[in-house]
Symmetry: C2
Subunit: 405 residues, 2 copies
DNA sequence: GTATCTTGTTCGTTTATCGAACTAAATCGC
DNA sequence: GCGATTTAGTTCGATAAACGAACAAGATAC
């Protein structure tokens, strides 16, 4: 029941049907590999003849490859098909305040080499450094011709279509053309996205736990609190690239002043800063707290670890964060009724404390039993969701549905 | 960048390309009528030959009709094309607590005959009454064979796919199979939807003011406060049919108990009940207020009228509602960053008071200048948005993009 | 050794876009 | 007044895709 956009439509050409079926076939191989041509024909209710020509096309392009013959109870043995990921590489970049990660990986998400360095805050300086490292990485791994592109994840607002960083307060960036700058320096296609949206993208494309779920919200809890909203298998970016800012909806009218200028934002209660401040017994005021916390040297990881060790003050601080997160999760459930909510960030290290707190809030506020049961699952920080998001930025266009209508 | 749903995809067949182009063409005629074949060919960058065959198909089906020849500065005069709406009728039903409206209209939204009666709260009773009225309406307007279906709008949660009302507290309904019941009685296709979602649908398909906007939120302010969320030209329904319940997100932790059981919900501050209660000087407590208000006999329309006449207490009550609505609108802006927000309901009768209050809140809380400028426009109650929504339920499938991929 | 069954390919048929040629009907220039 | 020009709409052959049936390849069952 989508309306056709009469100002920007893609009409069908002679090759549209083939493109659609080609892409469906590719996705079926991706999700069921190893798989035979005959099985693909059955799943697509398509003649085996058409499958043969489509597969041949994909084999020639190097997108698929043929694997081993396989045993069957009767009849000719099928030659199984796989998606080629090993020889299709990606450079994933995770840019943060504290450090920048550069990862060489394959399209399937397998890590090959990871580098870390202290973030430089001058955009030109940083792009220069990145270009040097990317070139070196590709050279040492003989990956030049095999690299499909660069995916880059940013803590801030991004215009993905143009590859521009609109506003990244943590870095102090405003209106920086990242894509053009990095593409010119490396000669590679560059995709830029904000962190929670990229994490959501990774969950669509690279997570086994998504398991066919096409409507979910990725709630990223880190220095900031933001979300990536996915509706109908697609990330929602909003009219001016700022959808998913649930972190800046107030949950208390007279709460602390948030870094965004508003009062009582969800982020002010649930960011890693807020959790640490609570642990240290400070008033919840991110603007002031920031320096105090850096002086104290205590990180969220410390608080989470101590909570695990039984430190009562740490446990109380984390559980409080969980309770406030529950308020945020309830908001998301009311607003979007997703099939699943994924929580990412260091705080998931104490999921045994966080989860019941979230569940209680959701159950208390939900409008229907089914909404109350909305699964809330953790994504441990060890999964490197942001780097996986950067990979997904490059992988998704390869597998995405063709735009039609 | 949509992911293909490998569990439920539509592969392309021989006729898929034609279906896509046929539907694009139909929508172009709809939005630019009267329009010539040659102009369609130019807009679609398609050969005039293909356009001829597509148009002939649509003419034979009675979807389009040929109008007058038209003057041109040079060359042969084109025969203009129009969408046939006059001979394609719809029965629109708006079911509410206070009354039920039944409207005979055409696919373009033009009203032909409107009936009203007191709502019966027994589902079987109501369906019987509706069936009698629908049959009579079609008979007296000789509309039997020309009726494309029934669209029905419900104050409550609806599973649109199955046509079941899940929960309509105002009617006291739970799990009522409306579609099957009405379809069996009338022999017509029946579409059922909840009210704010249907209003959003009407705004996509029947409003000139939507003007190509494909991402917006319809904020319906009436006895309840709900929204219809539209992303990429499609209404978002959620995993269990409860998306868009912004009305039940708390805006004050210690606010009044809402009818839903939660505390401090947006609805408790901004529903018509809340506005009237505020005008009468009652404590904001919908559960208690309801009876008091019915006894007082004052309606929202009264309050809005008195505000227009300069009654200071009425003006203050309405402005307060506006301010709280502004908090709700800000939430929507942060969460979804829509291109537009449409506010519907009686309160829009005092838009000169409501609008600045909303604007001030949005401006104060927005994260970016562009978000702060999100247009908020009123839809006066006189537009009959709910009945138009019911019409759109039948019209939308006729024009919607074919599902592909 | 033959029948059966499954995989994968080949090839003629059908149906769509594509593009060029053609017809229809108007104005413009002289 | 009449041919040139311009625009609209149709027709038709070329091409590309799905479709479907026939066929070849390679296995097991009896």
């Amino acid at each position: 029941m989508r309306k056709i956009d009469t100002r920007d439509f893609r009409r069908a050409t002679r090759s549209t049907s083939r493109q659609i079926n080609r892409q469906i076939l590719l996705n079926l191989v991706r999700e069921h590999q190893p798989i035979s041509r005959a099985d693909l024909a059955r799943r697509m209710t398509l003649g085996r003849g058409v499958v043969t020509t489509l597969v041949n096309e994909l084999l020639e392009e190097g997108v698929l490859y043929e694997g081993a013959l396989v045993e069957l109870p009767r009849g000719r043995r099928p030659k199984m098909l796989h998606v080629e990921t090993r020889d299709r590489l990606v450079v994933a970049i995770d840019l943060r305040f504290s450090r920048t990660d550069v990862l060489l990986a394959d399209l399937g998400g397998k890590q090959i080499a990871l580098e870390r360095f202290a973030t430089r805050f001058g955009p030109e300086e940083l792009l220069d450094e990145l270009a040097v490292r990317v070139r070196r990485l590709l050279r040492t791994h003989a990956a030049r011709g095999r690299c499909q592109g660069i995916g880059m994840v940013i803590p801030g607002m991004v215009d993905r279509a143009s590859g521009r960083v609109l506003n990244a307060p943590q870095l102090g960036w405003r209106d920086v053309q990242v894509r053009a700058g990095l593409a010119a320096r490396t000669g590679l296609a560059v995709h830029v996205e904000n962190a929670p949206a990229a994490c959501a993208l990774a969950h669509i494309w690279l997570s086994e736990r998504a398991n066919g779920i096409r409507d979910f919200v990725y709630l990223s809890v880190s220095d900031g609190v933001g979300t990536g909203v996915v509706v109908n298998g697609e990330v929602v970016r909003g009219h001016a690239h700022t959808a998913g800012e649930f972190g800046h909806i107030p949950i208390r009218a007279e709460g602390p002043i948030c870094l965004c200028g508003s009062q009582g934002c969800l982020e002010a209660y649930t960011s890693n800063l807020a959790t640490v401040a609570r642990y240290l017994g400070h008033e919840l005021s991110p603007a002031i707290a920031r320096e105090l916390l850096q002086q104290s040297g205590v990180t969220v990881d410390d608080v989470v670890r101590r909570a695990g060790e039984g430190d009562e003050r740490a446990r109380a601080a984390v559980a409080d964060t969980g309770r406030y997160l529950g308020i945020g999760v309830s908001m998301i459930v009311q607003a979007l009724n997703p099939a699943q909510i994924v929580v990412g960030g260091e705080i998931t290290g104490a999921w045994d404390l966080v989860e019941p707190a979230i569940r209680a809030e959701v159950a208390r506020r939900a409008l229907t039993p089914r909404a109350a049961e909305t699964p809330v699952i953790p994504e441990p920080a060890g999964h490197m969701p942001r780097l996986r998001g950067a990979i997904a930025l490059v992988a998704a266009p390869v597998y995405a549905a063709p735009q039609v209508g």
